[in-house]
Every structure is written in structure tokens, then in C-alpha cells.
């Protein structure tokens, strides 16, 4: 029983990160109907950019409080990722809007590879240490036996703040209305005066900013960052988006947290269930199995999908 709470806590942290990444996938799929394969790489760039920013700040302003360094680094990484994602959309997706489905997928894979290799060149092929700027000493959770660290609390709280912020943006602002309209039908939205290209760009940029935050959270949580850190989490986050209902924001959030919990509890208990034939080293497989099961048995996800009518 004691590992249950711990795994739930771990799963919640993981899930929040997945949720933030999943939002990017789901928003893009809702509007364009394509999987932004390169999204995982955006989070990687966010983490590495923040790393460089932190190193720079540590050098230039050694007296700055650590948490402030993290905040500043995040505020630097977010626009960088936003512009990167904007560029990806303009270069790799926009010209292929009317091409068969295969084409944007291939360019996305190409961009993914390019970003990974550029990261290898600019930063390093090896994992780099990401400084722990948030309290990471374990805090006992009442008397459950489970522990949580300060940084994990920050991750969870910040994720919820961001998610609420996004929901407010989408439901209460003019841009949000434009996004929802474009997601339903770009053609009709444009007839109402919405510029679909601008909305699409905004969607990519917002998703990228979220991914940057997620990447920094990941790096903070695990203590390192490297060029390959975005790929598998990206895939898993996409699974989460599908699980919750692709195109559905609330679905992405729920799907993300749910997937984190499934993965964490699965990894924790699989050994017991299978008499140690399968251990936690099969953790990655869970997300894939969830993906396959969802797509085969309930492709519209938990909360139902919302994809544009592109007639």
C-alpha cells in the first residue's frame, strides 16, 4: 500500500508534464488534422535553451536567487520555442496543406531529425546536467510513507495554473474564440473575418510555449537534458491526447494525467502481477499498449474527439 501513494504522486507529476505536451498535439490536430510529429523536439529545445540561459545567468548574475533564474530561463525558452514552432509550421506544414497525408508526416519526421541533430551539434550528444534550482529534498506526505519534493509540488501546481490559463484563453478571449471557430471549420471561420493562417500560427506557438514549460519541468525533475529527451515523451503525450479525445483540450489534460498514472502504477505493480517476468523496464510499452487499445476500441477517446470539418 505504501508504494501506491508514491506511485500516484509520481504518476501525477509525470501526468502533468504529459498533459502540457498533449495540449500542443491536440490543438494542432484539432485545427489541421495532422500529428505534429516534431512537437516532441520542441520541448527538447525548450529544455536545452533554458539550460543555456541558466548557465548564462549563473555566469552573469551569480547572486540571483535560483528560483528566479529558473523563471527567467523559462521566460526565455518559451518565445524561442514559439518561434521555432511557428517556423516549422510555415516551412513544413503550410506548403503541404493540400498534399496527401503522407507528405506532412514525412516532413515532420525530417524536421524532427534536423532538430535532434542540430541539438547534438549546438549542445552535445551526451546528456547534460540540468541544475536543480528548486528544492528537491523529500517531504513526507502526512504519514503515508510516500514522499514528494518541492520541485514536484511546483510542477503540479504550475501545470494546473497553466492549464486553467489555457482554458480561460480558449473560452474567454477573442483569440480563443477564433481558435475554436477555426477548429470547427476554417472555411466558415474565414468567412466570419477570422484569418485562419494567423490562428494556426498562434495555435502552434501556444502549444510550443507549453511544450517548453513541460520540457523544463522534465529537465528539472530528472536533472538532465539531452537531444533525445523529447521523442518518447512526445509519443506518449500524443497517446494521452488520443486517450482523452483528440482535438479536445480538457481531454488532453485528463488523458495526460491518466496516462501518467497508468504508466506509474503499471511500472510499480507489473512486477507483482507477472511474478517478475515483466518488470518496470517495460514501462515505455504501457503507453504504446494504451495507444493501441484506445485506437482499436474507442478511437474517439474518453471525452470524444473534436476535429475540424475540412469539407
Amino acid at each position: 500500500m505504501d508504494i501506491f501513494i508514491q506511485q500516484v504522486v509520481n504518476g501525477l507529476v509525470l501526468g502533468c508534464i504529459y498533459a502540457l505536451i498533449a495540449l500542443g498535439y491536440t490543438m494542432v490536430y484539432g485545427i489541421l488534422g495532422i500529428i505534429n510529429f516534431a512537437h516532441g523536439e520542441v520541448l527538447m529545445v525548450g529544455a536545452l535553451t533554458a539550460l543555456s540561459a541558466i548557465l548564462g545567468l549563473q555566469y552573469l548574475f551569480p547572486g540571483m536567487p535560483q528560483w528566479l533564474m529558473l523563471v527567467v530561463a523559462t521566460l526565455i525558452a518559451m518565445p524561442v520555442c514559439a518561434f521555432l514552432s511557428y517556423g516549422i509550421e510555415r516551412i513544413a506544414y503550410r506548403p503541404l496543406r493540400n498534399a496527401p497525408r503522407l507528405a506532412p508526416l514525412i516532413t515532420a519526421i525530417g524536421i524532427s531529425i534536423i532538430l535532434q541533430t542540430l541539438a547534438m551539434i549546438i549542445w552535445s550528444r551526451n546528456p547534460l546536467i540540468f541544475p536543480t534550482l528548486l528544492p528537491s529534498s523529500p517531504i513526507d506526505i502526512f504519514s503515508t510513507g510516500a514522499v514528494i519534493t518541492g520541485k514536484e509540488i511546483v510542477i503540479i501546481v504550475l501545470s494546473f495554473v497553466v492549464m486553467v490559463g489555457l482554458l480561460l484563453l480558449v473560452n474567454r478571449t477573442k483569440l480563443g474564440r477564433a481558435m475554436r471557430a477555426t477548429a470547427e471549420s476554417p472555411r466558415i471561420a474565414s468567412l466570419m473575418g477570422v484569418n485562419p493562417n494567423a490562428v494556426i500560427s498562434a495555435t502552434f506557438m501556444i502549444g510550443a510555449a507549453l511544450a517548453a514549460v513541460a520540457g523544463i519541468m522534465m529537465a528539472t525533475n530528472y536533472g538532465n537534458a539531452h537531444f533525445y529527451m523529447g521523442f518518447i515523451p512526445g509519443l506518449k503525450a500524443f497517446t494521452a491526447a488520443v486517450l482523452g479525445g483528440i482535438g479536445n483540450l480538457a481531454g488532453a489534460m485528463i488523458g495526460g494525467i491518466l496516462l501518467g498514472l497508468i504508466e506509474s502504477l503499471g511500472a510499480g505493480y507489473i512486477g507483482d502481477f507477472t511474478n517478475d517476468i515483466f518488470g518496470s523496464n517495460y514501462q515505455d510499452v504501457f503507453a504504446f499498449i494504451v495507444l493501441i487499445v484506445v485506437l482499436v476500441f474507442r478511437p474517439s477517446g474518453i471525452m470524444g474527439e473534436r476535429v475540424a470539418d475540412r469539407a
Binding site: 500529428i35 503522407l102 508526416l105 519526421i109 524532427s112 535532434q116 510499452v285 493501441i292
Partner: protein, 380 residues
């Protein structure tokens, strides 16, 4: 009648003959000018071409975007590894007792059973994907590919079947009528290195695969695949059992992948999960897509170009940088990947049907000489 002289039958025959001659002589040329290293490059090029031809059936003919194709390569390779090496007998005492001389089924027998086994995997992995649309199909197949790799990587505990990340070595080589292809032979005074002999073996298989692909392409099944690719609903409405026909595409593609894997296992004498990572699936897909989807000569060209370019880059990247900049800024390996990614983007943007796509048919009116009278009136 033939506007484009390049397409005149005489020139076509000449081109094909020239290509065949080059293909037959290539290993000798490589051996003379480059040595064994370059002969082995040719061998791997042929293996990739065979893989790409298999994937071409799934992606090119039937339009099913498979991003996990390398899993079938792995199935074939590990079949060879498990059935023709000391691995199983060294891990399981019962088996060692049953087979005191070891399990050495041999290349030819493994090849024989690998086809159907791989086909079965093709059906198993394809079945859940039948109702999925393009992107989802890609991701799910990717997932399957990764699942298989993870299993191969971890099936060394609690019982050691695959030896995990360490891989399986000492795989038996191909023995052809008593001749061990992994040992250099001499024929009429010409030295035949293992790489050279394997080249011709693989080439024979590639030719078989090309033959089968061509036959399939111009057949009832081939038409059904293209119909599904073009408009699945209309295909169903015309009576095509799309589920079975799609599974057939997966099965055929998997069969070729599996056979390639068996050869790979015997050739390299060593297999490990490292050879079956997602990157490899993407690489084979790139050969198909960049070469010319659905177009067999294009796929072959794609294979030659991609592997060739990769090797040339490997040789030249660092010396060139040293010469130009005095310093190696980018590793050859990293540069190769970077350019590969760029190639994917650029080709999709500017030449989406590939470097050598199926030639556009010119619309020409029919001149039929057959008489066809009474069958038409009075219904059919």
C-alpha cells in the same frame, strides 16, 4: 508514336542491360578499388533495397503507412539467430540435452519457415490497424515496432531468450552446397571474399522480390491494393474485401522483411536490438518515399542513392571539413543524419512523388482491332 526518345524500347533494353551488367560486376569493382569494406557496403545496400521493396508493397501499393516495418526484419533476424546459433542451447539445459550438437537449423530451412512466420506477424500487427486513418496507422505501427524492440531488448530476464542488449552472436553462416560463404573461396583463380559471395546470394533474392512485386503489381490483387489506396469506400462498394486485402499487403511486406532479416542474421553472424530501432524503419520508409513510391525502379534507385550517399559522406565529411575549415565541426555521423532530415523535408516540398516516380501515362485513345459485336447487344 514515341515522342520521348528516352522511352524508345531499344534504349530501354540497353539501359536495363547496362544496369544489370553493372550490378553483376559491382562487387568486383568495389573489391578492386575499395576492398572488402566497400563490398560489404554493397551487401547492406542490397539488403536495404530488399527491405524497401517489401515496404513498397505496404506503403507504395496499398497506401498503408507503416512506421514499424523494421519489426519484421527483426523477426527474421532473430529467427535465424535462435535457430542457428549456440544461444538457446547454452541457456536451456533441456534443449542442450535434446540437441547435443546444438540447434543449427541452417540458413535454408530458416529461410523457408521465416516467410510464413513473418507473414503471420504481419497479419497480427496489421489486424488492429485496419480501421485507422493515415496518421494513426503510422503511430500505431510505430508503436508495434518499438514494442517488439523493447521485448527483444528485455527478454534476457527471467529467462534468457534473446540475450537482451548484448545480442546473439556466432550465428551460422550460409552454406551453399557445402561451400561456407563466410570463408573466402577461390574459383578459377579468382578470389571470392565472403562479402562478394553474399552479394550474389542477396542479389538473387532481390531479383526474386522484384519479380514477385512486379507480378503482384499487375494483377487482380495489385489493382485491389491501388483501389484501396485511392478510395477505400469505393473499393468496398465494388466488392473488395478491404480487410483481407490490406492484411495481405501487410503479410507480403512482412514476408519480404522477414526473409531479409534471415539473410542479415546469417551475413552479419550477430544480431542485437540496436539494428532494429525506429530510425531504421524511418530509413527504409525514406528509401521508398524519396525513391518513388509504388515505383519499383525508383525504390531501387532510392536505396542505391541513400546508402551510397551515406557512405560517401562518411568517408568525406571529416576530411572535407578539415580541408575547408581546418577543423571538424560536425561529426560525419551527425552530418549524415542532418542531411538525411533535410533531404526528407526538401524532397517532400519540391518533389513529393519521389526522385523517380512512376512515369505519367500519356492519355492515348484506344485502337482496338478485336471485333466485338454480338456480345454487346442483348445484354451481358
Amino acid at each position: 508514336m514515341f515522342n520521348n526518345t528516352l522511352n524508345s524500347p531499344a534504349k530501354k533494353v540497353l539501359a536495363i542491360a547496362g544496369f544489370i551488367a553493372l550490378a553483376l560486376l559491382a562487387p568486383f569493382i568495389a573489391q578492386t578499388f575499395g576492398g572488402n569494406y566497400w563490398v560489404r557496403i554493397l551487401d547492406f545496400a542490397l539488403l536495404y533495397i530488399m527491405l524497401a521493396l517489401g515496404l513498397n508493397i505496404v506503403v507504395g501499393f496499398a497506401g498503408l503507412l507503416d512506421l514499424g516495418y523494421i519489426a519484421f526484419y527483426a523477426v527474421g533476424a532473430y529467427l535465424m539467430a535462435l535457430l542457428s546459433s549456440p544461444q538457446l542451447t547454452s541457456q536451456f539445459a533441456d534443449l542442450a540435452q535434446l540437441f547435443p550438437a546444438g540447434i543449427h537449423l541452417g540458413f535454408w530451412w530458416v529461410l523457408f519457415i521465416a516467410g510464413p512466420i513473418a507473414a503471420l506477424f504481419g497479419v497480427l500487427l496489421g489486424a488492429p490497424t485496419l480501421k485507422l486513418r493515415g496518421d494513426y496507422l503510422a503511430i500505431v505501427t510505430l508503436g508495434f515496432g518499438e514494442i517488439i524492440r523493447i521485448f527483444l531488448n528485455n527478454l534476457d530476464r527471467p529467462v534468457n531468450i534473446t540475450n537482451g542488449p548484448k545480442g546473439i552472436n556466432a550465428i551460422d553462416p550460409v552454406v551453399f552446397f557445402g561451400i561456407d560463404l563466410s570463408k573466402a573461396q577461390e574459383l578459377f583463380g579468382i578470389k571470392l571474399s565472403p562479402g562478394l559471395m553474399y552479394y550474389y546470394l542477396i542479389m538473387v533474392l532481390v531479383i526474386a522480390v522484384v519479380f514477385i512485386s512486379l507480378r503482384l503489381q499487375h494483377s487482380r490483387i495489385g489493382r485491389a491494393w491501388v483501389a484501396i489506396r485511392e478510395d477505400e469506400t469505393a473499393a468496398k462498394a465494388m466488392g473488395i474485401n478491404t480487410r483481407n486485402v490490406k492484411l495481405l499487403a501487410f503479410a507480403m511486406g512482412a514476408t519480404f522483411g522477414g526473409i531479409s532479416g534471415v539473410v542479415f542474421g546469417a551475413f552479419q553472424a550477430f544480431v542485437s536490438p540496436e539494428s532494429f530501432v525506429l530510425w531504421e524503419s524511418i530509413y527504409v520508409l525514406a528509401i521508398v518515399v524519396l525513391g518513388g513510391m509504388g515505383h519499383i525502379p525508383g525504390v531501387i534507385l532510392g536505396g542505391i542513392l541513400l546508402v551510397g550517399f551515406q557512405e560517401v559522406l562518411r568517408e568525406l565529411a571529416e576530411p572535407a571539413q578539415k580541408m575547408l575549415f581546418g577543423h571538424v565541426y560536425i561529426d560525419a555521423e551527425v552530418l549524415r543524419q542532418l542531411l538525411f532530415g533535410l533531404a526528407l523535408v526538401v524532397v517532400m516540398l519540391y518533389r513529393p512523388s519521389g526522385i523517380w516516380p512512376a512515369p505519367k501515362r500519356e492519355d492515348r485513345p484506344v485502337v482496338r482491332t478485336r471485333s466485338h459485336s454480338s456480345r454487346l447487344e442483348g445484354g451481358m
